[in-house]
Subunit: 155 residues, 2 copies
DNA sequence: GGCACATGGTTTTATGATGCAACCACACAA
DNA sequence: TTGTGTGGTTGCATCATAAAACCATGTGCC
């Protein structure tokens, strides 16, 4: 079978993330959800995507524990899609993507919005990687280590 | 024309990033490149992907200014693919993806490696979003503002 | 209850993207 | 010059996506 490659069995955490949210639409759906969208129709009209694709993506993200279907909220009998903690945990990914575009996009004038600190109205600081003790790290300051095997009793 | 949706004309910087590196393979290629891989064959055998797809992705990333083709380096007449500053700038995105998986993956035991600070050998700290003045920000502490129009003279 | 319309999808069908294998071009060595 | 490895491209089968039509249920109104 040819079947599009799945990274689900891969041991690399980056690949595993991409397996869940690495398609063309999921992160945009999450972006809208973070800004308060909840209903099928809201996502569909805001993103302008085909309904069948939206349907498939929502289902997939529910399966991955990123969204949950909540029964109501505004009284109507319809359902809503709300982010789980796991879903809200993607926020740094979105910020990183946004900042990368802000810094390196070939046509920065095409970018319509900037993310600001609500209190001061000033742009948020660039994400930076730090060690446990607070030292600023570059990619070269890091390395990969095998995951420590958690010790457990016989079984 | 049906044509897979392109976000190139989109004003959202997240969509613009995804247009460049939002496909299934690009970020994994960049991941390997950050760890020193440079040759076509290295990427191909390490990632186990089809050569035509690799070829297309490399070309696309060269077009996007993420990779450059450098003439040599080890004496042979072959070419190499090396990351540009824009390409190296994706590092926070990769770290964010990795940390998301480390924190929320359903099967954390399947994750093989952890990213550590080379000096101390300790895991790097979680990326955190901060305001210009250093306050820690949650998603709710932020908002989107229209991009300020840079002032320019008549034309 | 019965009707019209909105919401929230699924189905159908066409096309683009992906995966695999085969093939090709060139460099390098003998 | 023949052989082998690297670095791709080409062809073809299959999968995923997109757009539009269709359908089921909810909701408002009488």
């Amino acid at each position: 079978m040819v079947k599009r490659t799945s990274f689900e069995g891969d041991a690399c955490p980056i690949a595993r993330s991409l397996d869940a949210i690495g398609d063309w639409w999921s992160l945009l759906i999450i972006r809208e959800a973070l800004f308060g969208l909840r209903r099928f129709g809201e996502f569909q009209s805001k993103l302008g995507m085909a309904k069948n694709i939206l349907s498939a993506r929502l289902r997939s993200m529910v399966d991955h524990g990123i969204l949950t279907m909540a029964p109501a909220s505004d009284g109507s009998a319809y359902q809503e899609y709300v982010l789980t903690p796991k879903g809200r945990g993607t926020f740094p990914i979105l910020v990183a993507l946004r900042q990368w575009s802000e810094e390196f996009d070939d046509r920065p004038e095409a970018i319509a919005t900037i993310l600001v600190d609500r209190e001061k109205g000033r742009p948020v600081k660039k994400l930076e990687m730090r060690a446990e003790d607070g030292r600023l790290l570059t990619p070269a300051d890091t390395m990969l280590k095998p995951r420590p095997v958690p010790r457990r009793r016989s079984a």
